[in-house]
Amino acid sequence: MPISKEEVRHIAHLARLGLTSGEIEHFQGQLEGILAYIDKLKSLNVEGIEPTAHALDIKDVLRPDVRRPCLEIDKVLRIAPQREGAFYKVPRVIE
């Protein structure tokens, strides 16, 4: 399954991965090879087969609506790349 550079760029954008043009070309080649291999699944007939999203057949795992202690604010903000008081600071989000 051929994949274009444009598609790789689009996927990288979806994944918020900054790639150099060299990387884009490099990955494009490797991806084509991998996708060609993965395409062997297309030859299988999966009609009527249920998907397995969970390896264990369990259901209805719930927890009671009971409070547990929260993390102390400093424990988490201490390692924040940028903070302002009690907030995490990030580059301006444009709405």
Binding site: L14, I34, K42, L44, L56, P81, V90, V93
Partner: protein, 480 residues
């Protein structure tokens, strides 16, 4: 005899009988570390040889253990050997760490690994590659390469690794130690930095089967913090050890005995089979017809889940952050995301994120991910059919012994294909263990894999222990 060369079970006896002290054990481990770590490089960061604050009374009292650098230990750095997590300190203990502490053990240090567990050689670590103690020019396997190597090199008594497609078993086989991937849900994943949520399991890497059984009993069990953990009591796995194996029915899947398999690996396996036959085990030729689709299925499911699990690494709350004022197109926030993730992730991580994002993307879901989940059902059914007539399945753990450093780095697909024997157990959620079953002429370990029905780790331990005790492999040590 240096205490660090002993198994946990022997150490427990000696410590309990006061024939050895915890201090002496730590001293021996430190001595060994100083002597060989420069060559092996099994650790992600230099371990702590201090005594822990206090230890509980338990079956593993005073035993130091090494945990893979993707398992959270309160107050300790945990970075998955990735630049993007530099400086991240775990604010909580993984459930397995809580449990091992309850058993009296303590965390000695963090083992090196492939970045985010993406790899089969420990070469994608952002730090350095770990070396195979049996041949320093070769890889220890991956992604739990550091965990396997430190146990093989006697730098650790026992270690924990994680296994998503073979990452405990394959390095165990490359390094000549015992590695168990439990049934999916047997061990809590809370505190394991996720790679592929529906495939990951934490498991022990040890010098022998008894230690492995002891360690698994200590860390396994239901966890209210992990909705995918099984609500089943944990047996005392050591109890099954020493049982006879006469009458056990073992399947040999013909699809696993492929042409690409190394001759010496084949020979070692054949000898193991012969030995077991001699003790009353019956072997059957069985078929797992969808084996050829396993790697493709795995690389769709695992990378899809990984691409989502790794989205959180974005420089906002912790770890690396790289603003990028030169990116005018995207706006400051997105530019920051892209540069942070572009610099923070290694090539293999990026490759998997791209592949995973692709197979989930609009228009491709049904063709790839949707289809892969269905093939997964077919793979599981193959095993169900075989286990209707067999107690266990035996295969080689890896088609080859440890390969050279750098040998597979150019061709990612070749690297992926080396997982061929281990991957299906993760897709089907089955327990699987690797036990040493021979040495090549050049002195490289070979591993035999044993698989069982869900939650039949006991069956695996029974066969593995019996075989181990009839062979010398677990007594061999690398010359470092």
């Amino acid at each position: 005899m240096s205490l660090n060369t002993l198994t946990a079970s022997v150490l427990r006896e000696r410590l309990h009988a006061k024939k050895a002290t915890p201090e002496a054990l730590r001293a021996d481990l430190k001595k060994r570390f100083t002597a060989v770590e420069e060559k092996v490089r099994a650790f992600a960061r230099p371990p702590d040889f201090k005594a822990p604050a206090d230890r509980a009374e338990g079956p593993l009292r005073d035993i130091p253990v090494v945990i893979k650098d993707n398992i959270c230990s309160l107050g300790e750095a945990v970075e998955c050997c990735s630049k993007i997590l530099q400086g991240f300190v775990a604010p909580y203990d993984a459930t397995v760490v809580t449990k091992l502490k309850e058993a009296g053990a303590f965390v000695q240090g963090k083992a090196n690994m492939d970045e985010f567990a993406f790899g089969s050689s420990c070469e994608t670590s952002c730090l350095y590659p770990t070396r195979n103690p049996w041949d320093l020019q070769r890889v220890p396997g991956g992604s739990s390469g550091g965990s396997a190597a430190c146990v093989a090199a006697d730098e650790a008594v026992m270690a924990l690794g994680s296994d998503t497609g073979g990452s405990i078993r394959q390095p165990a086989s490359f390094c000549g130690v015992v590695g168990m991937k439990p049934t999916y849900g047997r061990v809590s994943r809370y505190g394991l930095i996720a790679f592929a949520s529906s495939l990951d399991q934490i498991g022990p890497l040890t010098k022998d089967v008894r230690d492995n059984a002891l360690f698994l009993s200590a860390i396994a069990g239901p966890d209210e913090r992990d909705a995918t953990s099984a609500d089943r009591t944990v047996p005392d796995y050591a109890k099954i050890l020493g049982r006879d194996v006469k009458g056990l029915r073992v399947g040999l899947p013909r699809e696993y005995l492929i042409k690409g398999m190394d001759m010496e690996v084949r020979a070692a396996l054949d000898e193991a089979i012969a030995l077991l036959k001699g003790h009353g085990v019956t072997f059957f030729d069985v078929s797992l017809p969808h084996t050829e689709y396993a790697v493709a299925t795995y690389y769709i499911v695992a990378t899809a889940e990984a691409s989502s699990n790794l989205a959180r690494f974005d420089g906002v709350q912790y770890g690396l952050r790289r603003p990028d004022p030169s990116n005018k197109e995207d706006g400051a926030l997105v530019a920051m995301y892209k540069k942070t993730r572009g610099e923070g992730f290694g090539a293999e991580a990026k490759r998997r994120i791209i592949l995973g994002t692709y197979v989930l993307s609009s228009g491709y879901y049904e063709a790839y991910y949707g289809r892969a989940l269905k093939v997964r059902t077919l793979i599981r059914r193959d095993f169900d059919k075989v286990f209707a007539g067999c107690d266990l399945i035996v295969t080689p753990t890896s088609p080859t012994p440890a390969f050279r450093l750098g040998e597979k780095m150019e061709d990612p697909l070749a690297m992926y294909l080396s997982d061929i024997y281990t991957i299906s157990a993760n897709l089907a959620g089955l327990p699987a263990l690797s036990v040493p079953c021979g040495m090549t002429k050049s002195g490289l370990p070979v591993g035999m894999q044993i698989l069982a029905r869900p939650f039949d780790e006991e069956g695996i331990y029974r066969l593995a222990h019996f075989y181990e005790q009839k062979t010398p492999w677990h007594t061999l040590k690398p010359k470092l």
